[in-house]
Amino acid sequence: MPHINFNNDFPGIRSAMAYSPETAAPMGVLAEILLRSEDGLSRAERELIGTYVSYLNDCFYCNHSHGAIACIYLDGDNELVEQVRKDYSKAPVSDKLKSLLAIAAKVQRGGKNVTTADVELAKEKGATDKDIHDTVLIAAAFCMFNRYVDGLATITPTDMDSYPLRAKQIVDNGYGNHVFTNKQPT
């Protein structure tokens, strides 16, 4: 049961955002730019970083929601999403993305863990300053989203078939207040 009365029965972050649309608005804009910008990192790469950080933060709702979104961008390759969660160093992703996932994992534990050597390695593998910036901010933002979702004990759907439906809604329409003003997909 959620820690507060949201006056709605939306799942996960949607319930908290519907409860507080004033704070939801900038969070939706932030997610839209960070996860759907195609400047440098692809949408699939951005969602994989968000999924991985949510996995590390043990946030079931965000981990599976963003994993399902990444899966759509990866043409249904759920196995790759799972490999990134379990051991990205062995996953068939670029060395550049591996070096960025390493930075994201450091950020998840605390910003100061990111070293000059981590950043140098990512640059050597082709990451630009903007790629590094976006990776750090995606990882940091998921440290917020995950805590918001679990800190209020929002409802986590146990029906795994519902995750791809909500994921498609995001892939089709982006992030923003429509996720809690429109009817939930069934």
Partner: protein, 183 residues
């Protein structure tokens, strides 16, 4: 030196939002609505929650700047800020605020750490749903801001006077800094 090429001598998050104003705008908008928007928690109390979480995350820049903003907003009671940062449970803030700071401290560790007992304890002391929501989101947001500032190794001034001036400016609200004039 910062991990990425940002404007030199501009401290903390300001240098980062100038590097990427597209993300800077919603970050400043979020800070403004969370810390200055309508709430039954005072602006001083909300800044104190932010400073407390930043202290626990060992983010010197965010802790020093938000503590300075909280001191400014608390005015004659500004010593409360340093009391909370020294020993929250022994500080002179209300029992209700202590219960909310306790929840914020749990969120700083991880969302799941917050128990129904923590929530019940805050309610007994008068906290309502909105205040619990705002506390959790402030703590969560600073778990982001702190990591953003330190994860990119942005410039952290060591001169305390710099933070005092920053706190006075922050007390008036959060507005995305304008890009410096091209040289």
């Amino acid at each position: 030196m910062a991990h990425i090429q940002v404007e030199e001598n501009i401290p903390g998050i300001r240098s980062l939002v100038l590097f990427r104003p597209e993300t800077g705008k919603p970050l400043y908008d979020l800070a403004q609505v969370l810390l200055r928007g309508p709430s039954s928690l005072s602006e001083a109390e909300r800044e104190l929650i932010a400073a407390y979480v930043s202290y626990r995350n060992e983010c010197i820049f965010c802790m020093s700047s938000h503590a300075a903003a909280a001191r400014c907003l608390y005015g004659p009671d500004k010593n409360l800020v340093d009391e909370v940062l020294h020993d929250m449970q022994q500080s002179g803030v209300s029992d209700k605020l202590k219960a909310l700071l306790h929840i914020a401290g749990k969120v700083q560790v991880l969302g799941r750490e917050v128990t129904p007992e923590d929530i019940a304890a805050a309610r007994v002391l008068g906290a309502d749903d909105r205040e619990i929501h705002d506390t959790v989101l402030i703590a969560a947001a600073f778990s982001m801001f702190n990591r953003y500032v330190d994860g990119l190794a942005s410039f952290t001034p060591t001169d305390l006077a710099v933070y005092e001036a920053m706190g006075e400016r922050m007390a008036k609200g959060y507005v995305l800094p304008a890009s410096p004039e091209p040289k």
